[in-house]
């Protein structure tokens, strides 16, 4: 159906200068002083410009790529890309050897330069990251791909820069799968949609004929599991994004919902509701064996594995109200971990393994928060009228979730949007989507 993930990148040069540089970014704290960085437009020769127009209908793919990079770095909250109008040195010359004094003059601490060529239907990009204060190159990288991949090139450059300066993997060459929403609240039309992390390249994967909810990626981001009301039977489905083939997961005589992949990608964990009771089940995708994990008359739902597959966190009202629990992945050793005031839902284990993100409802307000896996250290990151369903960036530094606004008595004023916030509680921002949106799920890093 949609071929997105089979893009190959040919990296033919990769030099990281490990020399002791002066700049680095601490991402463990709220960053109120983002690093001033100059993103020089990637230089493009005149011949290449013609090819750029022919192949991509873009005047200057070099400056387009640098805009992608600039936007990524800015939205991370860790960088402050400087205005290009202040740049004194031309892109081609800067790429060969920057005049560090010129860049220091405009208070840049880091500089990105580069060069693009489009030849024989190939896009060749090289870029360099410079430490202005130390006056030296920090990294040089070049790669070749098909021209239509130019936005991904920008994301990969962003990831490399982020990784070099923070010491952690980036999250820019990623996608978000979510539910696109349109129409009045009482007759909402919902479709599965997928887009780049920065809101571009939106594709719709279903037509809106049936209600779809809660899509989640598998670890390689090629498969999605979600809930569909196809033929008015709410069931968990499995969708191969590349081929478009989909199938029902398991043969359950009732509603299955709240699906997620295990971190090894081998199982789907979900709730199955029967006779008023929801319990947690897994299905092995290879041998189709179904296992019952919880067996309790309460509602057990929203299961999420720890990254090492050994534990499961889930949501249960067995205490009388919605709370968060952790158990071993065979269902033994069930322990309640949420003890604060209010109701707790949608626990999701961090890809780093040390935290669980959740939704909390207390006194009519909804919060997105995190706690350690034993329930200690609860920290609320954001409060709003309605928000829920956090999903982690692959590096475990950012959460994406959805937020709804209050409607008046006629139902007007309602909206549903995606938002993201750093684990630090800073850098809260709306994520652009073509339509209203909910139930976001963040992919893994597509290139490594």
């Amino acid at each position: 159906m949609i071929r997105i993930f089979n893009l190959t990148f040919l990296v033919f040069l990769f030099l990281i200068t490990k020399a002791n540089s002066l700049i680095e970014i601490d991402i463990t704290r709220g960053n109120l002083d983002p690093l001033p960085i100059a993103v020089s437009p990637l230089f493009q020769s005149d011949i290449s410009k013609k090819n750029s127009i022919n192949e991509l209908k873009l005047e200057n793919v070099g400056s387009e790529i640098s805009s992608v990079v600039e936007n990524n770095l800015k939205t991370s909250g860790l960088f402050n890309p400087l205005s290009k109008e202040a740049f004194l040195q031309k892109p081609d010359i800067a790429h060969l050897k920057p005049r560090f004094e010129d860049w220091a003059l405009i208070k840049a601490q880091a500089l990105i330069t580069g060069k693009v060529t489009i030849e024989n239907k190939k896009l060749k990009v090289e870029f360099r990251l410079w430490d202005i204060l130390a006056g030296r190159e920090m990294m040089a990288l070049a790669f070749t791909t098909v021209p239509s991949n130019w936005r991904r090139v920008g994301h990969i450059i962003s990831d490399k820069v982020y990784e070099r300066l923070t010491g952690e993997k980036g999250y820019f060459d990623t996608r978000i799968i979510y539910v696109s929403e349109e129409g009045p609240k009482t007759a909402r039309v919902k479709k599965l949609a997928i887009m780049d992390q920065d809101g571009f390249n939106t594709k719709y994967l279903t037509l809106g004929n049936e209600l779809v909810l809660t899509p989640r990626f598998n670890p390689t981001s090629q498969m999605v599991t979600y809930l569909s009301y196809f033929k008015n039977l709410p069931r968990v489905y499995l969708l191969d994004i590349e081929t478009g083939t989909q199938e029902v997961v398991g043969d359950f005589p009732g509603m299955t919902f709240a699906p997620r992949f295990s971190p090894d990608g081998k199982k789907i964990i979900m709730s199955f509701a029967k006779e008023g009771n929801s319990d947690i089940y897994t299905m092995d995708l290879e041998n189709r064996i179904v296992e019952r994990i919880t067996n309790h008359p309460s509602i057990d739902t929203s299961p999420s594995y720890s990254p090492d597959n050994r534990f499961i966190t889930f949501n249960s009202d067995r205490s009388g109200y919605q709370q968060i629990y952790v158990m071993k992945s065979d269902g033994s050793n069930v322990k309640r971990i949420s003890f604060g005031k209010g109701l707790y839902g949608t626990p999701v284990w961090s890809p780093r393994g040390d935290l669980i993100a959740f939704t909390k409802l207390h006194k009519g307000k909804f919060y997105i928060g995190v706690m350690r896996t034993d329930g200690s250290g609860e920290r609320l990151l954001t409060e709003n009228y309605y928000q829920e369903a956090p999903s982690w960036s692959p590096n475990g530094r950012v959460l994406i979730f959805y937020r709804e606004t209050k409607s008046n008595d006629k139902g007007e004023g309602f909206s549903a949007k995606l938002w993201s916030i750093d684990l630090t509680g800073y850098n809260e921002r709306q994520v652009q989507t073509e339509t209203d949106a909910s139930d976001p799920s963040w992919s893994s890093l597509l290139s490594n």
């Binding site: 509701a273 929801s278 008046n408």
Partner: protein, 162 residues
């Protein structure tokens, strides 16, 4: 399991109604003029009828699936009507309001639909004539964001299936 659960639920309802009657009488009831008791909807704005005098829906308190006296009365009327119309099968749709997480609400809707189904069964309707479906919070009847709207949306609706 059902015994201990219904015992717990009954206890909770008593506790809740104590709390609600203690603090909510002032606020809620004056505001909505007798359309809610506690936070259960008691009005008829959204109600449709399966037949003359047979309401199609019952309403629930927040996060609860307990049938109120009025709900049981409605379901007995439905059961009588189903007995008289033995060729008709029904789907009981369970719904929740918008003030809860999506996945929990799907489970809650299923629990509510089954509470209604079980009551119909105890009044002699065969289980294979009743199917259930939960819509969670996905299909509100009232799109407002206020306690009265939410009370109309916390419901189970009995719909003819054929």
């Amino acid at each position: 399991m059902n015994f201990s659960k219904s015992f717990r639920n009954t206890f909770l309802v008593i506790l809740l109604s104590l709390i609600v009657s203690a603090c909510a009488t002032k606020k809620t009831t004056t505001k909505v003029e007798g359309q809610m008791q506690g936070d259960v909807y008691t009005g008829t704005d959204t109600v449709k009828y399966l037949a003359d005098g047979v309401p199609d829906r019952v309403f629930f308190a927040t996060n609860e699936s307990i049938l109120t006296t009025k709900s049981r009365d409605t379901l007995r009327k439905q059961a009588n009507w189903l007995r008289e119309n033995s060729s008709i099968n029904v789907v009981v749709e369970g719904h929740a309001d918008e003030r809860g997480t999506r996945e929990y609400n799907l489970a809650l809707g299923e629990r509510r639909a089954n509470a209604a189904k079980d009551y119909l069964i105890t009044y002699g309707i065969s289980a294979d004539r009743i199917s259930v479906i939960s819509y969670g919070k996905e299909r509100p009847v009232d799109s407002g964001s206020n306690p009265l709207s939410w009370s109309k949306n916390r419901r189970s609706v009995t719909v003819k299936a054929n």
